[in-house]
Symmetry: C2
Subunit: 479 residues, 2 copies
């Protein structure tokens, strides 16, 4: 069989970022296809990343008292219609079920695009007293939104996610939970996925359909486009009033609950690819990597080499490292490229000369640095390298993000940056949606990404209209 | 607040088994309702059981080389229609999506009732060479089947499950995988859920739509009705031929793959309730119980009692036991009933006198046995009790199942048992579907549950028609 080097096969990201992305997704075997248009198949290498994300997020959720539940996948139209802004936001993009078996339904039902309406209906029936509050429920499921153009992980007619839906006795508790979950998302992204984010609030124009306030974590991709990585919404008592979620409070009066929701999706896999990847393929942070170390024997047909490589893998595995051995009948060079394409953070090379010297060679995926290390104590050394990679990948992503974050104080400056420098633009804003609309129209799709919690005073006036500024905003083109 | 004893509120299973079941599901807070008819909400206490089932099954799957994936939730009609027997089995009970947003779809799509068709389409595109085989994929998801009458966990328009779909180069490999997974299911049920099962093959009449052979694990509920707890199907090359799943074999010729599928569902929660429960409520085997031990303080307002109870909980938790403390402002008696209703396998009572003596009282949920134990070394003692409960619950369920398993060698005997004694009936069968149909019609719904792997020779002739017998069959009424 002819050995092809994967590295020769992918488009470079500088030439065509979109094609590079598609190539990585395909060559790293993250997704596959069926004839169901606009829907993706998540293959084992992609799904294992999602499992690690799920496991870590779920653990963090539960530490804050969240419990998992499961609600129906279909929503009757009348239920969807109860909250006016919400239905306007979602009705145009849902899939409608009209027949059950051979019978036409009396009322059509949509495949859930999100489940605020169902949780509201459920809570209205299930909650009676202040003793029943708060309710901190979450579900892991898939949702369907009838997108016109789709891309694996980034925009798909179906995606996997978690959606948390909580209800509280007071407005303050709901607001506290909304920001708590936003900060949980931010910490998860930075600590686990090594993705630096800007934490902030969405403008009125960009907030979720039906929310009083939407908070977001925004990351910057390699091409300078922003990706919204998670959102947390405070609904106030809007849904509670629309769906009648009431409770008897301590003072013996009927009150409406205050509600939140928050979600993260398989889109995160797209973020990992576009924040960390390079022209050799995927680059996974060690904590989320399904395989952290690939042991690759050199001259594996020589006596004792495969045995030693197998033993090395066992030593690493016993120490809790997710290690595998590539003993396929292929050249080491082919295996190196393959391991790099799949984003495995570390490879350990071992050949006859290494065995003679009682050593092996650790090669970092992120920097390509080669570290000759004694076999004695190898597991500790590999753990140290994995920790270092996790740390460095975050720092590098942050340095790149910072280098691609610009400041504009005038319309001209803003326009020039938007037209020539991909990245975030920090600029003051008057708070008027008219400026947001004009910016989007005139600068080819630049939108307000968020009003960051960490405000800076860049100037006194709105970068677009010159009226007094109210807030500093992160702007950018987004996925 | 008035304290009600839960035990007074549920129907006894001898009076009305169906109502008892409904009461337990409700009082143990396993499910809830929305206005989506026929669909269930799985509440935290129910979902936590499912999570433990998932975790253990997933671990066992992966040990055999299975990998998780995710495929689309919608199936285009033309794709569903490709395998004739399969579509005839499922088309009458699927939900049809006809609109995406405001646009009528060119081709309607059903919400997946099962995913053989999708996996076949995917594999046909993804597999090319014998080197790509076997593929051992599984997915965790929900499916929709438009049932007319529904009951929580047992029959619902949507349920959660796992569906494994594997393809192989040879018929033998596929057959081996089919029985391997069936045995994995049986071991899981017996070891983890303490549910004894009969392993066997479905008759032609009862097998899965499109399968060459369907294997099943059948359990007996408290009321003497059978519940199919898991199935494993060998499809031969039927789907491969219908969907064109071919590969180039080592001999350089194109061949069709051989295929299997196997699934377990949230129905297992219904099985746990109906095999183990009693008139005090749910009774969970320790291995699957989300909470294994409830620490209940007695005279908790006396100084030092709550502190000691809290310390006891911490000691148990540190030892890896899933323990909680019930420090609510309610009487111990109320808490005991509550813990029993929820099926928590062990409670530990501790009051001022116990503290004085350096002891506590362990009470088993299954036998109500009280064990006075010193606080010194309490975690080991509780572990020992939990192990014993797990063991005893299985043995008790098996003894009950065996006591409710009858043997019939004549039509008269068969009829009499079917009409008077709920349970399994073992009887010889000629192999003719006409006898199965007649038995079902004349004995009020008695069906062949399976042809057990462990055959017994009960007589020479079919219990119904008197012709020569081919196999011994387990018969019974089923959920």
């Amino acid at each position: 069989m002819a050995e092809k080097k994967f590295v020769e096969e992918i488009t470079s990201m500088e030439d065509d970022f979109a094609q590079w992305y598609t190539d990585v997704v395909k060559k790293a075997e993250l997704t596959g296809y069926t004839q169901v248009k606009g829907f993706m198949v998540i293959k084992p290498a992609g799904y294992a990343i999602w499992e690690n994300i799920q496991h870590e997020l779920d653990r963090r959720f539960k530490e804050t008292g969240v419990e998992n539940v499961y609600l129906p996948c279909l929503i009757p139209e009348s239920l969807l219609n109860k909250e006016k802004e919400h239905v306007e936001g979602f009705a145009p993009e849902v899939a409608w079920v009209t027949y059950g078996g051979t019978q036409q339904l009396e009322e059509r039902m949509c495949v859930r695009p999100t489940s605020e309406t169902l949780f509201s209906d459920f809570y209205a029936k299930d909650v009676h007293s202040y003793r029943d509050l708060p309710r901190l429920y979450n579900q892991w499921c898939s949702v369907v939104r009838w997108e016109k153009t789709t891309r694996p992980f980034l925009r798909s007619r179906e995606f996997l996610w978690q959606e948390g839906h909580t209800i509280h006795a007071t407005a303050k508790e709901a607001e506290d939970r909304t920001t708590q979950m936003l900060n949980l998302y931010a910490d998860f992204l930075e600590q686990f996925l090594a993705i630096p984010v800007v934490r902030g609030q969405k403008t009125e124009k960009e907030k979720f359909a039906g929310a009083v306030a939407t908070y977001t974590v925004e990351a910057l991709m390699h091409d300078g486009k922003a990706l919204q990585c998670g959102t947390s919404h405070n609904f106030g008592d809007g849904f509670a009033r629309a769906y009648g979620i009431q409770f008897v409070d301590k003072d013996n009066t009927q009150k409406y609950v205050y509600q939140t929701s928050w979600g993260m999706t398989t889109r995160l896999i797209g973020a990992i690819i576009m924040v960390h990847g390079d022209n050799s393929g995927l680059k996974l942070p060690p904590l989320v990597a399904p395989v952290q170390v690939m042991v690759i024997p050199v001259q594996q047909k020589k006596e004792g080499v495969l045995d030693k490589a197998e033993e090395l893998k066992r030593v690493l595995t016993s120490a809790g490292i997710r290690a595998r051995l590539d003993d396929a009948d292929k050249s080491p060079g082919w295996k190196f490229s393959d391991q790099e394409m799949r984003g495995i953070p570390v490879r350990v090379e071992i050949g006859p000369k290494d065995i003679e010297k009682g050593q092996c060679v650790i090669v970092r995926r992120d920097t390509r640095e080669k570290i000759v290390a004694p076999l004695e104590g190898i597991a500790d050394k590999v753990k140290e390298v994995l920790d270092q990679i996790q740390h460095d990948m975050y720092e590098n992503a942050r340095a790149r993000r910072d280098a691609m974050t610009y400041t504009a104080t005038t319309k001209e400056e803003f326009t020039e940056i938007a037209n020539t420098k991909p990245g975030f633009i920090k600029a003051m804003w008057c708070g008027d949606v008219a400026c947001e609309n004009a910016i989007k129209d005139e600068l080819g799709g630049v939108t307000s990404r968020c009003i960051p919690f960490r405000q800076e005073h860049l100037s006194d006036t709105c970068v677009w209209c010159g009226r007094p500024a109210k807030k500093m905003v992160y702007w950018g083109k987004a996925y």
